[in-house]
């Protein structure tokens, strides 16, 4: 018995040894070296192009059964009080029940073409054998190959953070910047994120505030792999907390206790102190306050626009065909979300650095915030909404209802006055 196993053992060892070496070399050449120097081989872009061709084919198969028709909505305008005035409110109400602008921003975008991920096709059912086979193949590739590959890269990243932890010395800032960039680039490759940066001449400078629309925690990785920022946010527990604490050691970030966040003056003071110090890195803020599903930009909270320094807007737009980057925090925790990210096809996004903006004379913080928001929405091709992202979790304020009532009353009172005159 023993005789049989020996040659196999040997063979096994040799095979393992070879595969490790090959793997390690590939890793070094294709991942780590480009990450250090910030260059790219273009492999991911090739991958992206081939994926797109496959998706187009899959979509055509599905579209054969779907009939599309146009729509037109009639809008009502009541002008006098009649019993029929109620029709206007009833119709508006039922229309919003059937479909509304806001709640759909808090769940993943529905795609017109299917990207072979069941999670993005809500009406998934059996259509044809070929399509199912392709989907099955996709599952195999994503979970059997891409996911382990990316997870291993991520582990690599962890080990390199530990290896390259910069000692306290004069070169600390310079070194830590380089190390950070490298780590984020490795993260980016771990997620197979294909990022296109536009207008890099407008990149945020020290002493400014960088403002961007928020879709997921990956936004941070994407922006930070192209420049160094000081982060602002609440101190979290768990995995995020560990990451936050380790980041603080390398460069100054601004983390708040939850209780402090309520005290807006304290927050504003810390931010303006940081901004005034020109040697400190630009602050990265997401004024929406919560993750939105990347089809729209919701209300910007005015806090960061009151500080009075230069604002560098950045628009981030993900291509939903390759994987949905939106983090629905009420549905998935962080770990679940990362798992989904790592098992998508790829994360393709475009980042536009918009020209810096300053608050103008006679413009208050809210108007400034809206101006910046409009610029970001225009550049990213997103819908510019006035609704508050806080509606994800909270109720809408009564003031909006009161406005509606006021409008209707104005119509009525107007006609009453006419009546009394005639």
């Amino acid at each position: 018995m023993g005789l049989f196993f020996d040659p196999f053992d040997n063979l096994l060892c040799i095979l393992l040894g070879i595969s490790f070496t090959v793997w390690f070399t590939l890793l070094l050449v294709f991942i780590i070296v480009p990450a250090i120097f910030g260059v790219s081989f273009g492999i991911r872009r090739l991958y992206m192009k081939s994926l797109l061709k496959i998706f187009e084919w899959a979509t055509l198969r599905i579209e054969r059964g779907i009939r599309r028709s146009g729509s037109n909505r009639d809008l009502d305008s009541a002008s006098e009080f009649e019993m029929s005035d109620i029709f206007y409110f009833a119709r508006r109400g039922v229309e919003s029940i059937m479909d509304d602008e806001v709640t759909k921003r808090f769940s993943a975008e529905e795609l017109e073409s299917w990207n072979l991920l069941t999670r993005s096709n809500y009406n998934f059912h059996y259509i044809s054998l070929r399509l199912t086979v392709l989907w099955g193949l996709g599952v195999l590739i994503r979970y059997g190959f891409l996911l382990p590959l990316r997870y291993l890269h991520y582990l690599q990243n962890q080990s390199s953070i530990l290896l390259f932890y910069p000692p306290a010395c004069r070169m600390k800032n310079f070194l830590s910047e380089k190390v950070h960039l490298m780590c984020y680039r490795i993260c980016v490759r771990a997620l197979t994120a294909i990022i296109t940066y536009h207008d890099r001449e407008n990149k945020p400078k020290n002493g400014g505030i960088c403002v961007a629309n928020h879709t997921s925690p990956i936004d941070v990785i994407i922006l930070a792999s192209d420049g160094c920022y000081a982060m602002v946010g609440q101190i979290h527990g768990g995995l995020m907390g560990v990451i936050q604490r380790s980041m603080v050691k390398a460069c100054p970030h601004i983390w708040f206790e939850r209780s402090e966040v309520k005290d807006r003056h304290l927050v504003a003071k810390r931010l303006s102190d940081h901004v005034e110090d020109k040697s400190k890195l630009p602050i990265l803020i997401f004024p929406e306050g919560t993750c939105i599903n990347n089809t729209s930009v919701m209300m910007f909270k005015k806090g960061s626009f009151e500080i009075g320094s230069t604002v560098y807007p950045v628009a981030i737009k993900y291509d939903p065909r390759f994987g949905d980057a939106f983090w629905n925090s009420s549905k998935f925790g962080m770990v679940n979300y990362l798992l989904r990210m790592m098992s998508s096809w790829a994360i393709v996004c475009s980042v536009w650095y918009l020209p810096p903006m300053c608050r103008e004379e006679g413009e208050d913080a809210v108007q400034f915030a809206n101006r910046v928001k409009a610029a970001i929405a225009r550049q990213g091709g997103l819908v510019d909404l006035l609704w508050d992202g806080g509606l994800k979790r909270g109720k809408v304020k009564d003031t909006f209802k009161e406005e509606q009532q006021k409008l209707y009353s104005k119509m009525l009172v107007g006609t009453q006055e006419d009546r009394s005159r005639s």
């Binding site: 039922v94 919003s96 029940i97 479909d99 709640t103 509606q404 009532q405 009172v413």
Partner: protein, 195 residues
């Protein structure tokens, strides 16, 4: 299981809903995915809170009355069939339906049924009459605090005076129909779909 893809509608159910409400197959599936996206508890029914989570509905002055229309007397949950039955009232009336078999039961989106839906929005206690008080309450919902009690009262009085025919100082359903006979109910109480 609670995931979206697994609680798919069966073909027989879709057929039944089609017969009852007149919606097309694609409209039903689309509304089903809307139903499931509103159903945060993932138990196959909607509660009043699920509706109130829609901001555009929450700011509608008659939002609560509309939400109430979905729930039958005394119940707190509405399933998909009930949801569709109520939405069916807003389906546009197609031309080929106007010449349907008169012995068949009236479709949910007929003119009469649309008017019944609106009538029920006014009729707070479901006693098939709109009293002066009920009219005042609904008016108050629509205008908020911007009109005085006296003005509102006079609007209500005028409305009842014009509509009431049998002198009981309230509006019955038939009187309601009579008042609105010249109004294009079909157009005002219909919603065109995007699909």
């Amino acid at each position: 299981m609670g995931s979206r893809a697994s609680t798919l509608l069966r073909e027989e159910e879709i057929e039944e809903i089609k017969k009852e409400t007149g919606f097309s197959h694609s409209q039903i599936t689309r509304l089903y995915s809307r139903f499931t996206s509103l159903d945060k508890g993932e138990n196959g029914t909607l509660s009043r809170e699920d509706f109130q989570r829609i901001p555009e509905l929450a700011i509608n002055p008659l939002g609560d009355r509309i939400i109430n229309a979905f729930f039958p007397e005394g119940e707190d949950q509405v399933n998909f069939r009930g949801f569709m039955r109520t939405l069916a009232h807003f389906r546009p009336i197609e031309d080929n339906e106007k010449n349907k078999d008169p012995t068949a039961s009236e479709p949910l989106n007929s003119r009469t049924n649309k008017l019944l839906f609106a009538f029920r929005l006014y009729d707070l206690d479901r006693d098939d009459k709109i009293s002066r008080d009920e009219l005042l309450q609904v008016l108050r919902m629509m205008v908020g605090v911007n009109i005085s009690d006296e003005q509102l009262g006079s609007i209500a009085d005028r409305t009842i005076q014009e509509a009431d025919q049998n002198g009981d100082n309230s509006i019955s359903f038939n009187e309601f129909i009579k008042v609105l006979e010249k109004v294009d109910v079909e157009q005002k109480m219909s919603i065109r779909f995007l699909h």
